[in-house]
């Protein structure tokens, strides 16, 4: 199931990047940096939370791979957040700028 949600988040990310005409070189570094940070935070806090006894897992659908106490599947949440959020953000940005220039030949020089 993690796969389908990752695929959905990845698709939104790609759609947003395309709709917002983002240059790969411009978004690769910040997204990658955020991804590393979020995965690192997940590794630390997931372990702490499971250790504190906040929740547990029915293991029958998990792969069994764990980093410390954290099942590898939990990292999909962090990865998806870094893909889905910016994807939606860029999509809305593209929609807003399209609506602003709705005639798309009218120059936006009617300020003030």
């Amino acid at each position: 199931m993690s796969f389908w949600f990752l695929a959905a988040a990845g698709s939104v990310f790609l759609l947003g990047a395309l709709a917002g005409r983002k240059k790969p070189a411009a978004i690769a570094l910040p997204v990658l940096a955020a991804m590393v940070l979020m995965l690192l935070l997940t590794a630390i806090f997931d372990n702490l939370m499971i250790f504190a006894g906040l929740f547990d897992y029915g293991t029958h659908t998990l792969s069994g791979l764990r980093i410390g106490l954290a099942p590898i599947e939990d990292f999909a949440y962090a990865a998806c957040a870094v893909l889905l959020g910016p994807g939606l953000w860029w999509l809305f940005e593209a929609l807003a700028s399209r609506r602003k220039g709705s005639g798309h030949s009218i120059p936006p020089n009617d300020k003030a």
Partner: protein, 120 residues
């Protein structure tokens, strides 16, 4: 209660970072809130499906309020998911701002007489 308090505190920290550097919700409030609502909805759906498969097991804990919004779905999880989305967006937009800031500074200090150095 302690866990919910920590989550609310962290959300507050994110909002402060956001407000200070106008990164996300403080840059485009409507757009930012839409991203948070849709993002949180995405993860709630994921949680609900995972709970349906019996993956997540809520454990009664002294650290939690005990308020449940659904079966195996504690109130705290909603705030965690909002925080997850907010934190990810602050990480990405913050990294972008930092990269832009550093580029501008190195360009500014490399040579003022380069011609293209002083873009406002």
């Amino acid at each position: 209660m302690i866990y919910l308090g920590i989550l609310l505190g962290l959300l507050g920290c994110m909002a402060l970072l956001d407000a200070k550097w106008k990164l996300f919700v403080f840059r485009h409030p409507l757009r930012g809130l839409m991203v948070l609502v849709l993002g949180t909805g995405f993860f709630v759906l994921w949680d609900v499906l995972a709970i349906g498969q019996g993956i997540f097991l809520h454990k009664p804990s002294e650290l939690m309020t005990g308020i449940m919004v659904g079966e195996q779905f504690p109130l705290e999880e909603v705030f965690f998911l909002v925080f997850l989305c907010y934190c990810a967006m602050i990480a990405v937009t913050g990294a972008q701002a930092l990269i832009k800031f550093r580029a501008r500074r190195t360009r500014g200090s490399s040579k003022a007489g380069e011609g293209d150095g002083h873009v406002s």
